[in-house]
């Protein structure tokens, strides 16, 4: 991306520079073009501050999730992709079960990829909206630690929001 030429100056090889991202959870490695990986602000900062080696270890993100993240970055690094294409591709990436989405949102946050954070958050939010809170609890496995009295009190506080909900 913007900083690519700068980095290329330091690159020993004249060909396209690549980075290797390695999931520290299951040691899967992914070789990606630098400009693709640099969509992650976290990685970009590492590269810019010269604290990235040839292999960048990515803690807390599994290979499966990392693959999705890289797919997203590749799509968005493609200059010929139309907005529609990107939307479709994004929709494909986030069409996952809720737990994958949660991993993905964590990964997007950790790697600081704004666009991915947004589409994933949006997708998760979509599964919350317009649902009674009981359903939300069930879908996400949220453990209710209120006593019935406490719950009623909180609910009463925000009476207006529960209009029309059980």
């Amino acid at each position: 991306m913007a900083s690519a030429p700068e980095n290329e100056k330091n690159a020993s090889a004249p060909e396209k520079k690549t980075l290797t991202l390695k999931s520290m959870i299951n040691n899967e490695e992914f070789v990606v073009d630098e400009h693709v990986a640099l969509q992650s602000v976290t990685i970009k900062n590492m590269v810019d501050s010269d604290c990235a080696g040839d292999v960048i270890p990515v803690p807390t993100i599994s290979g499966e999730i990392l693959a999705l993240v890289i797919e997203y970055c590749k799509n968005h690094a493609n200059p010929s992709a139309s907005e529609d294409d990107l939307k479709k591709a994004d929709a494909g990436i986030v069409a996952k079960d809720i737990y994958t989405l949660i991993d993905l949102v964590l990964a997007a946050n950790f790697l600081d990829i704004k666009g991915l954070l947004e589409v994933t958050s949006q997708k998760i939010a979509d599964s919350i909206k317009d649902l009674p809170h009981q359903d939300v609890r069930e879908i996400f496995g949220v453990e209710n630690d209120y006593t019935p009295e406490e719950e009623a009190a909180v609910r009463a506080e925000h009476d207006w929001a529960f209009e029309g909900f059980p």
Binding site: M24, N45, G53, D54, I102, R155
Partner: protein
């Protein structure tokens, strides 16, 4: 690990440090400086132990075991807040009842920088101003629609509703909304369940029939805001400037209608009441039929006021009394300036 350099441990250390230590700008939300989520003992789902249970390709079995864990509640505050920022205010507030963890999130709401259009129940892509022109088209969306947009950088949000003859109901939930303008509509119900930053409201009411109906509804819906204020969720009584444009000059119920509105606006500093130039209010001037063409009041708690009347039949004392009636307990300073043009 950086095997190629030959000093794997060191390089790895650097790499990790980079990942953890590189500062990055907050993408979107102004959050409090959140400490790491307070639930680490209870929900050991964050960074250090994540590798224990994020395994590749969770299959059916894993998913069903994972669902026993409250993974979403274990997300860091800023991630959860990002997710919640894609909800309407109503859905957002509803999450407070999920568990104590979520209640805490909801309480931090006022520190967040929301996108007005995700909260506001109608769509206007990327526009700074949600401008609803055709009530027929937008009617459904306006009352119940649940639509989003990407204009996340909206800082100075204002909404203008105009010429929506068929728009029957407007409900506004918009945390960043500062200005609301409303004109030429026959809307029956107007409510502001959550508008904590609303400072300027302007109504232009050109249709006789709508006047008392609308203003009659607003004071009724604003007390809702009071209850929200009490829950610390939202301070919605920040209206500082209120403009009322009245189309008809024959309003015997003006005082009755406006007074409740003023009562729920304790911070009101400026009231502009614009009435048409009186055509038939020559002699038999009704007390409530304000002949003040422009009432420009800077209240500031019994501060200076300036009242302008274009009707020569109204003397200063009459106007002063009228304004006093209008404001009731919001008493008027004796020093208020009254001008009869």
């Amino acid at each position: 690990m950086n095997m190629t350099t030959g000093v794997a441990g060191k390089s790895r250390g650097l790499g990790m440090e980079g990942l953890h230590g590189c500062t990055r700008p907050r993408p979107r939300l102004h959050l409090r400086q959140c400490p790491p989520p307070p639930l680490s003992e209870k929900y050991p789902g964050n960074a250090d132990t994540e590798e224990n249970h994020i395994s590749p390709l969770p299959d059916e079995d894993q998913i069903s075991t994972l669902s026993d864990e409250d993974r979403i509640s274990a997300l860091p505050d800023d991630v959860l807040s990002t997710i919640l920022s894609f909800l309407t205010m109503k859905d957002y507030v509803k999450t407070s009842v999920l568990s104590k963890r979520w209640r805490y999130l909801c309480a931090s709401l006022s520190n967040m920088d929301f996108d007005i259009s995700t909260l506001f129940d109608w769509r206007n892509d990327g526009m700074e101003c949600a401008y609803v022109k055709d009530g027929e088209t937008y009617r459904r969306d306006t009352t119940r629609g649940r639509i989003k947009t990407n204009c996340v950088k909206n800082k100075r949000a204002f909404v203008k509703v105009e010429d929506c003859m068929k728009l029957m109901e407007i409900e506004i939930n918009a945390i960043n909304l500062t200005t609301f303008e409303f004109s030429d509509c026959r809307t029956k119900k107007l409510s502001f369940p959550c508008v904590p930053k609303l400072e300027k409201v302007s109504f232009s009411l050109d249709y006789d029939a709508s006047f008392s109906r609308i203003l009659g509804e607003v004071p009724m819906s604003l007390p809702q805001l009071e209850s929200l204020c009490k829950s610390n969720c939202c301070n919605a009584r920040n209206i500082k400037q209120l403009e009322l444009y009245v189309g008809s000059d024959d309003r015997s119920d003006l005082v009755d209608v406006i007074s409740p509105l003023l009562r729920v606006c304790p911070l009101l500093q400026k009231l502009n009441l614009v009435l048409p130039c009186p055509k038939r209010c020559g002699e038999g001037v009704n007390k409530s039929c304000l002949d003040i063409s422009t009432l420009n009041l800077k209240k500031e708690y019994v501060g200076e006021g300036k009242f302008v009347s274009r009707n020569k039949n109204m003397n200063v004392e009459k106007i002063r009394k009228m304004v006093r009636d209008l404001l009731q307990e919001n008493c008027l300073s004796e020093n208020a300036e009254v001008i009869v043009l």
